[in-house]
Symmetry: C2
């Protein structure tokens, strides 16, 4: 069995630590299919919990799930010029099927705006059919050169929201509403603080009018784009003739949005909270809230301990917590501590004969790893309190880390010096040339213009021309 | 808006009725991608409910979800001879990706035994790793010549269970256990009676040792194979060297099973219960349990009715029912009755000024369409009772229909005469030649040998040779 002491320490090589952790905690594995991963049960359980919460939030905001074909006729993609240009290099193409060459090749969906618009154009007749609020949970495929488990894989799992509206304003509101859903999910459930803001022109989605994102900081101070929400304007509506009869009796193109998050979130969760001992999962997204580890040298000692452990597990489960008793006699308690730290169990509860004599147990939170004696009578309430506190502490710690690695930079030299220091707030003239120069010189990219940042005009750190405000720049995944 | 009176009656053309219903109740739609459907929100909601219940049953029996790549290297499929022969004609092939021709083509998974075994071979070391009980929810693709919405589509959604065991006996037990889970789901949730039994050699899964199925009878007396469970023996284990160190210290191939149900179940649900007015959904799988239709000619009448309707909806929702108030002033009550019958709302509740004066409402079950006056004070309890009774009645009605269309046939002539009459129980010598002759002559196929059928030896209805017992034969979807 894999053990925690085999993880490369973060300080030594963050990237190696990440890959070690993902594999040794049995979250995911490489496959023989280029850039595709196998998501193992431990990793998939995280995705199921992410799905459950987000799906509830989507339904609360009026969205319904549907499912559209995996394959898209190549000609569809070509209908929207920017869209095909953006995705063409990344397509996987089906040329043969059923033993024969296809007349027109199909591509495996890299995203579904095109094929979904084909349906929307049929479904929508009048303004009474609007807004149309659809979400799809699906796999998509983008042929990537350099892949990394969860963060960038050829195939990934995601959800893609696609909505149609009567007015430009309605579409803009929806775009921002769903970005806010993502922000809330990231912060309240993943305990991952994010900056919500607008992407630059060159970083927006291929085919969008405006793209908004949430950007998180990983423990290596690099940025992770964790979710995007696009105002598509009428670009796809024009390409697919998605029209409605308006209140004025005339035909109009619908105004659209799309928005998505993916299994990449799991990578973000890992890199935000985990440590050299292994995975740390925010309790709200955990399936394994606790493990009870019975201690005892002899069968006479272990018998009553095990009995009490099972009773405690039952009580904790009744309180809605995912709890198991690790009663494997072939492993030592120390081995089990390390194993559960590796796989991210939120807390362990040690229970031995001495504890039993004093009607207590020892609780250890995964993130702090400090022992705390708790009367057995209070065990359920204390466990719940500790998990709530852990959720809050994880967020506070991550936020303090991000805030202490966010800097205003006021010259190009300063930006270059601080290239690896975190989020850099810099003035920029909005000319894509300056943005490209920064990227070419330093590997730093513009992340977004955060809504919450107090802005005042200044001068572009590259060319010195007028700048309307600061953007976040950072090295990014 | 589509209305129920536009459905082709079942008596006139069952097949046209089915396609009408699926499209007019907005369950699914054709796409431009050959044989692929678009599952619309009304249809996808059924799939979500099916998933939720089945996923719970899989987890209760110890299975965990995981996710494996969509694409499978062509060479993997060739490792198991029967498997590749069975699936080769149905494959969709990716030959190009990322702008270049691939060295080895990938196929889109038609099923995942091969690629999953590649992982299992890495994960399993010893008997302590067994049983390994995995399930995957995924899309798969089989290039079909003749497609029909939900029943047979090029791409479909399904779950595929894949398990590894230490002994042949354990694998057989698992195969039967999961078939029993399917039987329970079909009968207790879908209210669809099924015959659980073993498929003939020629009808088994390509690569399996034994295949079991559940077979349901549709209203046109044709059979629908609704789920299958396969004992794979060591066939895939040998092909992929999926081995474990046994208790004897030696290396052994694992014993495997696989089992699946798909979006085809939605077709089965429709064809079991629905009528000429539209969709009928068993309450346990419905999202729309009830609709309250307020009645009133004037705003003065409608005001208090609407207020009471909203209060009743709140009470019903608190009891866990999916209920909406249809307060659209632009549509008549009669139009709404028809619309909700079409889309399969389990019951409607009519509420008018006269009802209000008498503190009552009128409830109408979707399947019976009889009006029943109910005191408002009892509305919640009565609605729950009516839905429970509807669930039981749907099953009883479907079972009575099946039983009254199941016949013993004792000669080949009798089988031919009764070809369209339903399930035919006939003796067969187990020679595939006789089975093939029946199929070629009559279009009738062997469905399975039901476990619950009392068997005694007899003579094959085709060749007259010894027969160990009767099989169910029927025309099938």
């Amino acid at each position: 069995m894999a053990q925690a002491d085999k993880l490369t320490p973060r300080e030594k090589d963050f990237s190696a630590w990440y890959v070690d952790l993902v594999q040794k905690a049995k979250l995911a594995d490489y496959s023989d299919v280029k850039g595709c991963m196998v998501i193992r049960p431990n990793g998939y359980a995280l995705w199921e919990n992410i799905q459950r919460v987000l799906d509830g939030m989507f339904k609360e905001t009026g969205h319904k799930n549907a499912y559209f074909p995996l394959l898209i006729p190549e000609s569809y993609l070509k209908k929207e010029a920017e869209h095909v240009e953006g995705f063409n290099p990344q397509l996987a193409v089906v040329t043969h099927a059923g033993g024969a060459k296809l007349e027109e090749p199909y591509v495996i969906r890299p995203t579904s705006e095109t094929i979904i618009n084909r349906s929307f154009a049929k479904w929508i007749q009048s303004y009474r059919d609007l807004p149309l609020l659809i979400n799809q949970w699906a796999n998509v495929m983008r042929w990537e050169m350099r892949t990394r488990l969860f963060l960038r894989t050829t195939e990934f799992l995601w959800q893609e929201g696609h909505t149609c509206h009567e007015t430009e304003e309605d579409a803009e509101q929806e775009t921002r509403r769903m970005l806010e859903v993502y922000r809330r999910f990231a912060e309240d459930y993943m305990a991952m603080p994010v900056l919500a803001g607008q992407k630059s022109e060159s970083e927006k989605f291929a085919g969008a009018v405006r793209t908004y994102s949430i950007e998180a900081m990983m423990q290596d101070k690099k940025a992770l784009q964790a979710g995007t929400s696009h105002n598509l304007g009428q670009n796809f509506a024009r390409a697919f003739e998605t029209m409605f009869q308006g209140r004025d009796g005339k035909q109009h193109f619908v105004w659209q949005t799309s928005w998505g998050v993916s299994t990449r979130l799991i990578g973000g969760l890992i890199m935000t909270h985990s440590d050299d001992a292994g995975l740390v999962v925010p309790p709200k997204l955990a399936s394994r809230h606790g493990v009870i580890i019975p201690i005892g040298r002899t069968p006479e000692e272990r018998g009553p301990v095990l009995e009490r452990a099972q009773a405690l597990a039952t009580d904790l489960r009744k309180a809605g917590l995912g709890v198991e008793v690790d009663d494997d006699d072939s492993k030592s308690p120390g081995w089990k501590y390390a194993e559960h730290e590796l796989i991210g169990t939120c807390m362990r509860i040690e229970l031995g004969p001495k504890d039993l004599a004093q009607n207590q147990c020892v609780m250890v939170r995964r993130d702090q790893r400090k022992k705390e004696s708790v009367p057995l009578a209070d065990a359920v309430a204390t466990a719940q309190k500790m998990l709530d506190q852990m959720q809050r502490d994880l967020f506070a710690k991550a936020k303090a880390f991000r805030d202490s690695h966010t800097f205003e930079v006021n010259s190009y030299d300063e930006l270059k010096q601080r290239a690896d220091d975190g989020f850099l707030l810099a003035h920029w003239c909005v000319d894509p040339k300056c943005e490209k120069q920064i990227k070419d010189d330093t590997g730093i990219t513009s992340r977004n213009r955060p809504f919450d940042l107090e802005q005042s005009p200044g001068r572009c750190i590259v060319c010195g021309k007028d700048s309307p405000g600061r953007l976040v720049f950072a090295k990014a995944y």
